[in-house]
């Protein structure tokens, strides 16, 4: 079990996270934590038109939550911000290569996606509340 989880790539992203750090003048910053285990993630975005021009994360927590956040930033950089709403739990689990996590650990893997979706909603909430509301409704079921 653990041999499957703590593979080289997870440990690599845990110890050498990509796109980790602060961002000067982000267009949106969002923070959330997992009250169960205390994992924390902040995501900062710069948006150009509808494109994610720059993405950075900060956080602390287990290897799964931090590696998942690191891999997520690589996955979405340069993509349209609204496309985030279509990302599913399975997309994330496949992206990090952990498809058989138990219910407790799945929350660790999905925390960064939750934060990113909140960030997307907040970004549009400032511009166009109606579309933000729709994005929020469409993003349910996380």
């Amino acid at each position: 079990m653990s041999d499957d989880i703590y593979r080289e790539i997870i440990l690599d992203h845990y110890r050498n996270p990509r796109n980790k750090g602060k961002m000067a003048n982000p267009d949106v910053s969002i923070h959330d934590s997992n009250p169960l285990c205390g994992d924390e993630i902040d995501i900062h975005l710069k948006v150009d038109g509808d494109k994610i021009k720059d993405i950075k994360f900060e956080g602390r927590g287990c290897a799964i939550s931090q590696a998942s956040a690191s891999m997520l930033t690589e996955m979405v950089a340069g993509k349209p911000l609204t496309s985030i709403k279509d990302l599913t739990k399975d997309d994330i689990l496949e992206n990090i290569g952990l498809t058989n996590l138990g219910p407790a650990r799945i929350k660790c893997a999905l925390l960064s996606l939750k934060v990113l979706k909140l960030g997307m909603v907040q970004y549009y909430a400032n511009k166009d509340p109606a579309s933000a509301k729709k994005l929020q409704d469409d993003s349910k079921g996380l």
């Binding site: 079990m1 653990s2 440990l11 285990c37 205390g38 602390r60 287990c62 799964i64 650990r105």
Partner: protein, 415 residues
């Protein structure tokens, strides 16, 4: 009949059917999460079963035979609890849902009546959230202040800070844990209470981690309030105990209004019931209070001094072994005389949740996270720790398995 000498752990284990359980992957369960909740002996499970099978009924009100049997069994537990902690009478023993509710009862009833603007409530940096949040709520509501006694790097309370708080002459309540659920630190409650009483200030002791693991005598200690949970001492979940000195309880306003806590109810006024029933509104957790009786009998049979000795031996062994593991940071006092059977640690850059997942592969249940003590986590400057905690049925062989799993975690994380 109280036994003597070292515990016969193999015999004790026979009384806990769950310990035979195989976990996924066929591994034998090694249960090291006793500070969260302990396992239950068959006697406890049987007694709950017996209540529901044979005399399930509501207590205190009806006169039929089963109600009388249930009332008697329920009240017998109260007598046993009073004796177990050496309370003066059963009037001082209130049943709640858990230690958390017991602590909240004090905050809502005694606290609201006695804490005023600019008063201070003193707690410590090692408290469980259940002994922090109720005081935050109360002091915010009353415009009063919440003050902390700090903890030093070895896990001991900074008694000079405590003295300073007392010298401010604003303190109206001191509420401290008897034993830290993270560091294991056994707090010098006798000194704390003595110093506080010299200023006429009452003291609430959170006994959630001490009453299950050592002899606790509320009269000797002279605390004014004490809270603990049955489920951390072989008993069922859903039963907490609040001990309050009778002279204080007599002046406390009721907590939950409703049935059982009244003598007479009229349209606009109520005469409350006698102690302790005035504080037990509504139908209580009858089955589990009755089940708790068997847990107290079980502990009394062993003897709390022997429980403590067994845990000191396991803790000593665990600390010796774990300090030999590369990359380990251990928290709390090193002297086992000053700590209970709780070992919190971190290892390299392995996050505690990852470690708990690896342990789980070996059938080992440990706790990882902030342990409902985030104020302490901030003080230690960590987001989480791993914690192994022991009880009467744990063995040195189990600690060996735990150390083997630690080595496996080091291999996976290349530490």
């Amino acid at each position: 009949m109280m036994q003597k000498g070292a515990l016969n752990v193999q015999k004790i284990r026979e009384d806990f059917p769950i310990l035979k359980r195989k976990m996924s992957g066929g591994k034998q369960l090694v249960y090291l999460d006793n500070a969260a909740t302990t396992q239950k002996p068959l006697a406890v499970i049987d007694s709950i079963h017996d209540y529901y099978m044979n005399y399930n009924s509501n207590i205190h009100r009806a006169v039929h035979q089963m109600a009388e049997e249930a009332t008697l069994a329920f009240e017998t537990t109260r007598e046993k609890v009073a004796k177990f902690i050496n309370a003066r009478s059963i009037e001082e023993i209130i049943f709640t849902r858990n230690a958390t509710e017991a602590l909240n009862l004090v905050a809502y009833s005694w606290g609201r009546a006695n804490i005023k603007k600019d008063d201070k409530v003193v707690i410590t940096e090692i408290e469980h959230h259940s002994n922090i949040v109720p005081w935050q709520i109360l002091t915010t509501e009353k415009n009063a202040k919440l003050e902390y006694i700090g903890v030093d790097d070895d896990g001991y309370l900074k008694m000079n800070e405590y003295k300073k708080h007392l010298d401010s002459n604003k303190v109206k309540l001191v509420s401290v844990t008897h034993m830290s659920n993270v560091l294991g630190t056994i707090v010098p409650v006798n000194d704390i209470i003595k110093m506080s009483h010299e200023k006429g200030i009452p003291v609430l002791i959170d006994g959630a981690q001490s009453v299950p693991h050592m002899q606790v005598d509320v009269q000797k200690m002279d605390c004014d309030f004490m809270a603990f949970s049955a489920h951390k001492m072989l008993g069922p979940t859903g039963v907490g105990i609040l001990y309050v000195k009778k002279e204080i309880l007599e002046k406390m306003p009721p907590f939950l209004g409703g049935g059982d806590m009244i003598k007479e109810v009229h349209k606009y006024e109520t005469r409350y019931n006698d102690l302790p029933y005035k504080f037990e509104g509504g139908t209580p957790n009858i089955a589990d209070v009755i089940g708790f009786s068997a847990a107290i009998d079980y502990l009394n049979n062993i003897g709390m001094d022997r429980v403590r000795e067994h845990e000191i031996e396991l803790t000593k062994y665990a600390i010796d072994r774990i300090t030999g593991v590369k990359g380990v940071t251990l928290y709390g006092p090193r002297n086992t005389k000053d700590r209970g059977g709780v070992v919190s640690f971190n290892i390299g850059d392995i996050h505690p949740h990852d470690l708990a997942t690896i342990m789980n592969d070996h059938g080992i249940a440990i706790r990882s996270g902030h342990h409902c003590a985030q104020v302490l986590m901030e003080r230690l400057d960590v987001s989480a720790t791993s914690r192994a905690s022991f009880y009467i049925y744990n063995t040195k062989e189990e600690i060996d398995k735990f150390i083997d799993a630690l080595d496996e975690a080091r291999r996976l994380f290349k530490i």
